[in-house]
Every structure is written in C-alpha cells, then in structure tokens.
C-alpha cells in the first residue's frame, strides 16, 4: 500500500497493485545471541544476508520509507544505523545507557531511544547522529512508539506499571496512565487513537485512549506477553511462556483464539497490507507468519540465534 506511486495513471496503478506479489518484503531480525541482524526475504522465506552489528542487538526501528534500520545493541551500548538495501552499517551512535526500546519519527529525522536502567528517553538527530535532548520517563522504560502523525510519543515504563505520553516537539510529559503489571512492548494504532501494551507480569494487554489519557480496559493474554500487533480489527500478542499468540477483538476487547507458535515468541509486527503478522520465536530461532484472516500459520522461517526483533522490523522492497 505504501508503495503506490501517486504520479501514475489510475489504470496502471490498479494493474501494478494487482500484479504486485503480496510478500515483497523483508524482515530485519535482531539475533541477540548470534550478535547479528538476519535479513529475511519473506517471499523466498530465506535469510539473504547477515549484518554483524555485535554488542547483543535487541531493539529495532524501521524508517518509515524502509531505507534505514536502527538497531540497539544492549551490551555494546550503541545504536547502529543500517542501510537496508546495501546491508551496510553506516554509523554507530554511542549511547549513555543500555539501549533497548527504539522508535523512528515518521519524518525520518529523529530517533527516540529508551535507557534500560536510567529512566530517560533520548532524542537522536539523524542529521548529526547525536543525542540532542532527553526527558525523564517512569522506571525502566521499555517499548517506545509514536503516533503516525508524529505528535505524541508513548513509553511503556515497566517498573512503574504505566505508560507515559509525551508531546514530541517539547518532550514534555502530558500524562501518565496506569496499566497492568510490567508493561513491555507498546503499539499505537494507525489512527493514533489507542496504545496497546503487553503486561509481562499481568498476563494481559492494556488498552489506552491516547486523547483522553485513560485506560479503556485490559484483555487477558497467555503467560508473559511481550509485544502487540494490530490487524483487521484484532490484536495479536506474543506470549513468551505459553508459546502462543493470543488474538483478541479490538472493539469488544474479548479473546478470540490462542495460536500455538514456536518457543518464547517475542517480536511481532503486521505486514504493510495487513494480511499477515510475523512472529519472532526467540528460543527456537524462527520467524512464523500468521494469516490475519484465517489465523492459520502459513510459514516457518529459520533465522539466526536468539532473535528478539523488539520494535518494527519489516520493510517493503518494491
């Protein structure tokens, strides 16, 4: 969808979108144990490149245009800027704490990175590759997400059981919303209306209204949920201990189904066209695809050792 060319004639556009393969995309998977990023071609279902980022990579943010991937190396304490087409590391940005959660501004100009130990969110200017601002969060900020218009930043403050909502421009905290126990991953919907966070120790997902800055409700998940993806009016949560993906309805907030996946599923993201979610299984070193309509597992793909892919890791290649 993102790749539609506005300049072309209507008829030609239709023709192109019909002929375009559904899986013209790649997944950039941070293999923390393997110390590399596996580039997974989702059409051929094979790893086509490995990028030696080192430093125990875990978090990742894909640039909105897919041309750059930003990877946090937890032990190395740096952020790698990767040119996705050439698979080259362009630069390593030193970080004052252990970096984990990371999100890219929709404009492509800034990164927002959470410190794992110190309660701060850092703003990196991608023109200078330097930290230009920081702001205090709750304890142990983990997941970071922005609204699609870039106006708000949300952090999941794990040890304070809350989401913090920031004004992106001023980096001032507008609100704190209490959620379940130990929120980790956080995902904002395409409307920028709601944030969904996986409560690792609450075995639930909290749903937050961003405008009202209030909790809408909680949905039960499997054990130790890690992150959330959204597709076709449903939420999908990776349950690390259960080895399942929990599916729930976004309007009723009722559970729909639990799907067995690999061991210790962690990162999860929806494809650009919404037809698939990709589930990264940390222990069993696999990425699985789930059809968001039928909820069937449609692919199991091998990657490197200890894949986490905490964040956004998909890009379209056409």
């Amino acid at each position: 969808m993102r790749a539609s060319k506005p300049a072309c004639l209507l008829g030609l556009c239709l023709l192109l979108s019909v002929n375009r393969p559904a899986t013209s995309a790649e997944a950039f998977i941070t293999d923390q144990t393997g110390d590399e990023v596996s580039v997974l071609d989702l059409a051929t279902q094979k790893v086509v490149a490995s990028i030696a980022v080192a430093g125990k990579p875990a978090g990742i943010a894909m640039a909105p245009d897919g041309r750059r991937a930003y990877v946090t190396s937890t032990e190395g304490k740096y952020v790698c800027v990767i040119d996705t087409a050439s698979r080259k590391i362009l630069t390593r940005i030193a970080f004052p704490d252990t970096p984990l959660g990371i999100a890219a501004d929709p404009s492509g100009d800034f990164l927002y990175v959470a410190g794992f130990y110190k309660p701060y969110l850092y703003k990196i200017d991608l023109k200078t590759d330097a930290i230009v601002a920081q702001t205090e969060t709750g304890a142990s900020p983990s997941g970071v997400a922005l609204t699609p218009d870039g106006s708000l930043i949300v952090t999941a403050d794990r040890d304070d059981d809350q989401l913090s909502i920031f004004d992106t421009k001023s980096l001032t905290r507008k609100a704190i919303v209490k959620v379940g126990a130990h929120p980790f991953g956080v995902t904002v919907d395409t409307e920028g209306a709601r944030a969904y966070t996986a409560n690792v120790e609450g075995n639930s997902v909290s749903v937050v209204d961003l405008k009202k800055a209030s909790l809408i409700g909680n949905v039960a998940s499997g054990k130790r949920p890690y992150a959330v993806a959204l597709a076709k009016g449903r939420g999908f949560t990776t349950d690390q201990y259960s080895g399942t993906v929990s599916v729930f309805d976004l309007s009723t907030l009722q559970p729909v189904r639990r799907i067995s996946v690999g061991e210790y599923p962690e990162g999860i993201e929806t494809s650009a066209d919404g037809t698939k979610v990709y589930v990264v299984n940390w222990f069993s070193n696999e990425v699985w695809a789930i059809d968001t309509q039928t909820l069937a597992v449609t692919a199991k793909m091998k990657v490197g050792d200890g894949p986490r892919a905490f964040g956004t890791f998909l890009r379209e290649t056409l």
Binding site: Q32, T74, T98, Y117, A139, D159, E201, Y241, W282, F283
Partner: protein
Amino acid sequence: MKSLAFFLVLAGMSLPQAGLAHGPSRQKVTEAIEIAAPPAKVWAAIGDFHNLSWLPGVVKTTGEGGNEPDVATRQITLEGGATIDESLYKYDAEKMSYSYRVDKVDVKVLPVNNYSSTLIVLPADGGKSTVEWHGAFYRGYPNNDPPPELNDEAAVKAVTALYRKGLENLKKIVEAQH
C-alpha cells in the same frame, strides 16, 4: 530499589525473582541426551513435578498442587541446605513435557534471574528416547558491568553443568531399570 537489590545480592541473601530488574540479554541453554528406553518409561521417571530423585544434589522436594499448571509449587532442598522455590506453568502429559519457573533462588546457588525451563521427552529411532532440557534466563547480576561470577557466561555455564549432570544421571537410572 536497585541499590537495595544490589546490597542483598552482595549479602548473599535469597531474592524473590519476580519484579526485579534483570540484564538486557536473555540467555538460553539446550541440553539433550539419548536414553535406551521407550518415551513412556522415561516420562514415568521425570513426569511428576514433585519427583526430582533423578537430579543429583537434591536432598528432598516438598510441595503441593500435583501437576496442575499455575497451581503446583515445589521447594527443592539441596545438599548443604540451600533451597530453590519453583512453580509449574505448563504441563502436557500427552506431549510428555512440563515447564516451570524459579520463583526464588540465591544467586550463589544458581547465578540466574528470571529463570524458566522446559523438560520434554521425544521419541528417537529404535524405540529409544531423547530428553531435552531447555532453559531461558538472565544473568545473576541485574545491572550493567556484572562481576565475572554473575555475568552471562557464568549463568550459561552453571545451567549447562546442571542439565548435563541431571540428564546423565537420568539416563543411568532409566537404562538400569529397563
């Protein structure tokens, strides 16, 4: 909070595992062994969450809740008197597998945090079995720059040694019976 945890670790006291900070990089260990006995025989030896008689170094196990996930808990007493508290969160007799987590352990006994584990018996060629033991955990030291005895390598080494010792003894016991 962190400084208190740090002090307790230094003092060698037991810490509750849930809710504390941990290192950024989760570790994993898989150990496997082939046993010359059918899977049902092997499962009979290890399938009870409250029976760790096959694991060297264990003096006794007390607990409750049978093999019911989210209910069953056990306390293991080791030679020398140290204890480990664990709870069952997954149990599948048909797949011959169970999963448990450590709720409380002294890092001097096992240098890990947020430890969870799965035992599974799989059929192997010729009517034999393969037992796999999977562990997922963080290092014993929750903060940056761990001392060597509480770093990632120390955690992996300790868990690997425990699994090897346990599986080799299990093999010996089951094959002697068979």
